[in-house]
Amino acid sequence: MKNQTVDTSMQSTVARAVRMKWKRTVKAWLLLAPALFFLFVFTLYPVAQSLYSSLFRDNLSTIKPVFIGLDNYKALLKDPVFRECFRNNLLIAVVTIPLCMGLAVILATISNRLTRGVSLVRLGFIYPTFIPLVAAANIWMFIYTPIYGLLGYINPSWRFLADGKTAIWALIVMLIWKNTGYIMLFYIAGLHGIDKELYEAARIDGATETQMFTKITWPMLQATNIYVLIIVLTNAYKMVDHLYIMTKGGPGNATNMLLFYIYQTGFDYWDTGKASAITVILVLMMLIITSVNFFTSDRKAFYND
């Protein structure tokens, strides 16, 4: 390329570059083919399939699916259970996301400064990541069960899971316990990427700890935040396994969530049309929320190195 002779016309250089790029394109697509195949079959096609099924009445009372347009969606808007699930999802997202992220970044920062016991502290906070959510649900049942549970020793009449007002908060506490350590891992990695000299310089200039956190640490963690936000956002909608053990979405539907409602509608009541409509709504919500986050934040984390 460097030794192009003078008589090589501009055009043939461009044509050559295009040809080379097409060659690379074929190679790239071939390498991506297997991953693309599974992505297409198990993510993209199912989304399309849900969109299609959501336009039909397809439940135990219909022999053959009947096209009903948007009726499933219209029915959902009036469905009190759906609305309650929607509210619960929103509440869980609004409460757990800032708390998990805030706690995680603070714990990561503080534990990084420890002179001893760093591994112990990390172990103590991160271990819930490695406990399956259903297992965590079992353990937390021992804590919440009235009278015999761990909290029962403090006050035997506490019935957090049986009370529609407190049940969701009891679950939120567990979710924060479960998620914070995982997020902390990302922040530990993010903190590691920050140049130590920045802190040295700030210290010489007489900056306080708080200033160093708000002026150096937090801005430097922006790339980490994109990852973390996607993880906490999707977690807020997909973590429902504990419901199966702890409340089944009850009392009433006080702790029910959209994904669990999909499970109940699709696999307990076999209302495929309605469950598909909820699936579509949930997919749309996740796409909108995560892409707003993605496109409004600094995309360098994804596009550059």
């Binding site: 790029k21 097409w22 394109t25 190679k27 790239a28 697509w29 390498l31 991506l32 297997p34 991953a35 693309l36 992505l39 079959v41 198990f42 993510t43 993209l44 096609y45 199912p46 989304v47 399939q49 849900s50 420890l114 591994s119 112990l120 990390r122 172990l123 103590g124 906070f125 271990y127 819930p128 990541t129 490695f130 406990i131 399956p132 259903v134 297992a135 079992n138 353990i139 937390w140 804590i143 015999y148 761990l150 990695a189 993010g190 790339a223 980490t224 990852y227 999707t234 909608y237 997909k238 396994d241 053990i245 994904l259 999909i262 499970y263 699709g266 469950a275 996740m286 995560t290 190195d305």
Partner: protein, 272 residues
């Protein structure tokens, strides 16, 4: 200076106190798993640690079968993922090609649409393919991992391109370059993603719940839930604790043993 060290001290005490609170559930579980069954409900009871609870659990439910299934699913998914994320991560890191941005966004969409959300259409698909209640059916939706692809891509971008050029000058083909040049340098990326993927599969519940209806293909998480559901009262807490510990122990022990490597690999992989 003095005031600062006092503040520091208070912060550290708070940190350890919070850590202790965070560890109560696991301490409680371990204690209940090893205590004599008749003492399980008494917070202050002490007894010689006993393995009776574990013995009863293993007699009552086929946990070894569940272990085998989870291991099969976890390892199988991981092996396929490693191959696919290496190829895809390499492409997105190194090759300038037509459609790269479009395909990249397509991949990212998988990160945003969690596979759990698609249980219904994926179940319909699996039943059409005749793959319900099979382990391969449980595994298939996880073969492509956007997160793994992203981690490999970010890591490859930190590797000097000269290494690849040198190998190419020596006549290495693409497969050789990937295996000889990149794979060894991706170790921390693999370890990071490996732990994420393994704990994901170990955690996975809703999908196997709808997919399986026999003991033969049921993974640990589901087996545990079935076991726990058969005990509604507090009387068998020691058994449920023992079963829960059986399910959690492998990952917890792995994490305790390899914590340093794991956290370090997390730092050195592309996640920053």
């Amino acid at each position: 200076m003095r005031k600062k060290s006092v503040a520091n001290y208070i912060v550290n005490v708070l940190l350890f106190a919070l850590m202790f609170i965070c560890m109560i559930p696991v301490i409680w579980m371990i204690r209940t798993a090893f205590i004599r069954q008749d003492l399980a409900l008494d917070l202050f009871a002490v007894s010689m640690p006993t393995l009776d609870n574990f013995r009863r659990v293993l007699d009552a439910a086929p946990f070894f079968k569940y272990y085998g299934n989870t291991l099969f699913i976890t390892v199988g998914v991981l092996l396929v993922q490693f191959v696919l994320i290496t190829m895809a991560g390499y492409v997105f890191a190194r090759i300038d090609f037509y459609g790269s941005n479009f395909l990249f966004v397509l991949f990212l969409s998988q990160m945003m649409i969690a596979p759990e959300v698609l249980i219904l259409p994926n179940y319909t698909l699996m039943s059409r393919l005749g793959l319900t209640d099979t382990r391969i059916g449980i595994m298939l939706p996880f073969f492509t991992s956007a997160m793994g692809t992203l981690i490999v891509r970010q890591t490859i971008k930190t590797i000097p391109y000269e290494l690849e050029e040198a190998a190419r000058a020596d006549g290495a083909n693409l497969l050789q370059i990937l295996v000889m040049v990149y794979v060894p340098l991706l170790r921390s990326a693999y370890l990071t993603f490996g732990m994420i993927s393994v704990s994901y599969q170990w955690n996975n519940f809703l999908w196997p719940l709808v997919m399986t209806d026999s003991v033969a293909n049921r993974p640990l998480s589901l087996g545990l839930a079935m076991f726990a559901m058969s005990y509604e009262t507090g009387a068998q807490w020691s058994d449920v604790s023992a079963a829960t510990l059986l399910v959690c122990a492998p990952l917890l022990i792995a994490f305790i043993l390899f914590q340093r490597q794991f956290v370090e690999s997390f730092m050195h992989s592309g996640i920053k």
